[in-house]
Amino acid sequence: MSFAARNPSVLIFLSVLALFTLLVTVMSEAIGTGLVSTSFVKILGKTLCLALVAVAMDLVWGYTGILSLGHFAFFGLGGYMIGMWLMYERTHEIAAAALAEGPIPPTEAEITAAIGNQIFGVVGSSDFPPVWAFADSLTLQLALVVMAPGLLALIFGWLAFRSRVTGVYLSILTQAMTLALALYLFQNDSGLRGNNGLSGLQNLPGVDAPQSHVSLWFFWASALALGVGYVFAAWLVGGKFGSVMRGIRDNEARVRFLGYSVESYKLVVFTLTAMIAGIAGALYYPQAGIINPAEIAPIASIYLAVWVAIGGRGRLYGAVIGAVFVSLVSSWFTGGQAPDVPLGFYTVKWVDWWLVVLGLSFVLVTLFAPRGIGGLFDLVTERQPPERHGANLGPDAGSLREKEASQ
């Protein structure tokens, strides 16, 4: 059977994504009717990137059972890597142009010094820290987008998995890693401009096109990345590798006794998804225009888990739906567009109350709808989980029978 035939949802997903991309393109300001504003194109493009990192999160949590609270750190790291090149090249252009005004043409050293002054003046320095060594090379920084999160995930995962840290302990440890990374980046001498972060990323060096075009290009790139990432994830979980992943999620010890090297599988999944998260971040932050360490605080990674859980973990389209739905609804409520609800004695302002609603709805989803929004599709397709004579505990503990589950 062909890949497409075995995964009908992939075809549906890809056509929906293609249709959506086409629709936005036709309605965009750049080459369409202008019904969709440039800033909204950016929001949609960013949402697609969030959907991609949600797919990665679903692979590592929904399919392998590792609740990582660190994937948004990998996402941010990818953003930092591309941000370094964008900021360097952009400043290079500006600095070279400014120096060329003078009577004497500038030397390379003078240009570099001017760039350093421009970028690091805000943290009281003018020298390039060693982490910026490759910032002038797009190829190397693009490689780092994948390598930096991948390497961090590899080292961290190797340390954590080989000492058999599992379950909530692993979650707490990943959260600590995220916190450590965020705190490190908050320092001025980390070399990445401390809490100022990197800014001006929306300007592509060497490109004169207006933002309306640039945002559309990034939107297309995000859609493409999401499409490719989704197909790759579907291919991964559809094969034998995917079966082992699910096996690890449902009963790790049993898979180990069957002779699989559980640690290696976990490490591969963890590293791979970190790389995907890095790519998603590299596409997200040029559209956001700015990245700072607050973006990768532990709370962001927990929100990522929230999206996947609300969308329905253990199914790829669930992750996408969750990320798109929650992030768009969130930005609608917190953006001040939602109308206030007057109760007579008190007016509910959504800017203030949205987080309360989100938090509580999250509790409700966990308690009453462990399959999330994606579970609604089961009603349509009439796909039923196997009858296990017990409460439906969702993909993680769902393989346990009633007796085990109530222990």
């Binding site: 390379e108 909530v168 302990y169 938090g359 505990l393």
Partner: protein, 654 residues
Amino acid sequence: MVRIFLAALVVAALSFAAPARAQDAPMQAVLQAHAELIVKSSRKAIGPAIDAVADSGLAQTQDVLQTWQAKRMWQRKADGVFFRGEEIDAKTSRLYDFDTGADVGIFANSDLKQVKPNSGVRAMLGAALVRFQLRDPDPSRRAEALAAIERAPSRQALAPLRAAIGDETDPALKARKVRAERLLTIAFDDDDAIRVAAIRDMGGDLGVDLRATLNPLVATDLRVFAGGDLPGGLNIARHVAPGDETLPRDTAYDMLVAASLAPARITAEEIRASLARHIDGGYVAGVPVAQLNADAARLRAYDGLVAQGLVPARVNDADIDGALASHRFAEVFAEPSPAVTGAARAALGQIETRVSANQILDLTLDALSLASIYFLAAIGLAITFGVMGVINMAHGEFIMMGAYTGFVVQQMIPNHTVSILVAIPLAFAVTFAAGVVMERLVIRWLYNRPLETLLATFGISIALQQLAKNIFGTQARPLTAPAWLDGAWVLNDIVSISYIRIAIAVLALIFLGVFLIVIKRTRLGLEIRAVTQNRRMAASMGINPDRVNVLTFGLGSGIAGVAGVAIGLFAKVTSELGGDYIVQSFMTVVVGGVGNIWGTLAGATMIGFLQKGIEWFNPSNTLAAQTYMIAFIILFIQFRPRGIVALRGRAAGD
């Protein structure tokens, strides 16, 4: 005497109102002798006048100086005689004679001239007054004068201070006087031997004032001398060779330039400017401008300009070496006496050793205090997470609820001591109730799904945080400690710890005791342990596991609430208060070893010491300390995955 007599004659000649009474009025005579200076009241010239009054040796000296300083000295225009004046109203004043103190009568202000010393003169008068104040019968005045000397030591204060030690009756003041005298001796005495002896006397004293006295003595100044020999009479600290780590060659040469002993180097910036000035039809000294984007071409062009005599020649390395070789560099003490500087250095070295020993002690106290804070924040978690295995991400929000409870109570009960005593049980009650509600509504459905518990309680956490923001606003709310907790326990100038921190440490120990008693000595504790080890077996023994779980969770939450009150006392109460502690609290429990209160204690101690230790290496950067600490903990988990105190066998649960 001659001057006084002459002055008296002058006064007598000028005056009709006070005819020839100067002989009976010695103070008036002194004042009259310097009348011109006193009236002019210029800071630069007034010195002799003040000295004359202060050195007159008369009983009324202090009174005169104080009157003068307080701008209450008046001069009668008619005869120039000075009086102490008391303004009766805006128009008239009552005058008193300085010498006899007698009431002279009431005069119109228009007939008088007020002596108004400016602030500089008043300060000089204050300095002159010190010697009198040091012997003032009122101890508080003596203490004031002493504090002024301690604040601004001066050579002039030394002699009066020495004279004032003997008849000091208050032992505390006497000790302070002796100490101040020793320090002034070190700084200002004329005899080097006495100074050295004074330095030896002080020994390894840890006072900041001693170090402040000694440090100027060993202060050096890097100076450059032309030629091979140094001039004599200088107290040389050491000779410096240009090029070693304390004095790089460039810095040394810059010193020569600054002292006009060598020509200035031509900087890259100046070369660039010179080139720009001499562009001639697209060329600079024959080099095309377009080629000037490299350093080599720029130097070539510049040297071309030098050859044309348009710009000064560059200073090359050989010039620099030559200039440096013909000069000597040395660090010179500002203090001329080698014996004094030597003794001061030795004393400072001794102090340094004792200071580091005391710093370690101080650091240990800091670390213990931090450990007790972490322990306090984590002890509730040690129950819910350690004993029950429930990941409660809202634990931090329970801490926050406790802190806000304290704040609300303080709004209603203004007495801080009473309000804290009320707040602690109330915070326990509030968070106990919140914990029970949460357990009943959410957690009991998720006992076998830890990851879902984590996410559900996280949902509660963000909801509670936002709720607190909506109710109390985003600004920090104060939770004020009772006044008797203000201040610090000071051992010496280096080792000190605030009473609040001691109170928190005591509270943490009390909690440890309460926890141990509840778990080991009560029926509830027995049931908790039974349910934790084997829920079904416990149930068949007649224990109601649901009830035990509710009570355990409530207990853990309640303790978090009390911890919140304690933490709120030294941290600002905001809605993010709990979030600041949650990761560290989990770390504490995980590092210590889950399911064991001693483990939590060990974990808190380790994390506290670790963080303070890292901060000691890099004191300016607490962010870095936290980063490295977390990295260390991740590594630590590698070697002891089950924490410091690991449970084995059945009790471990799996």
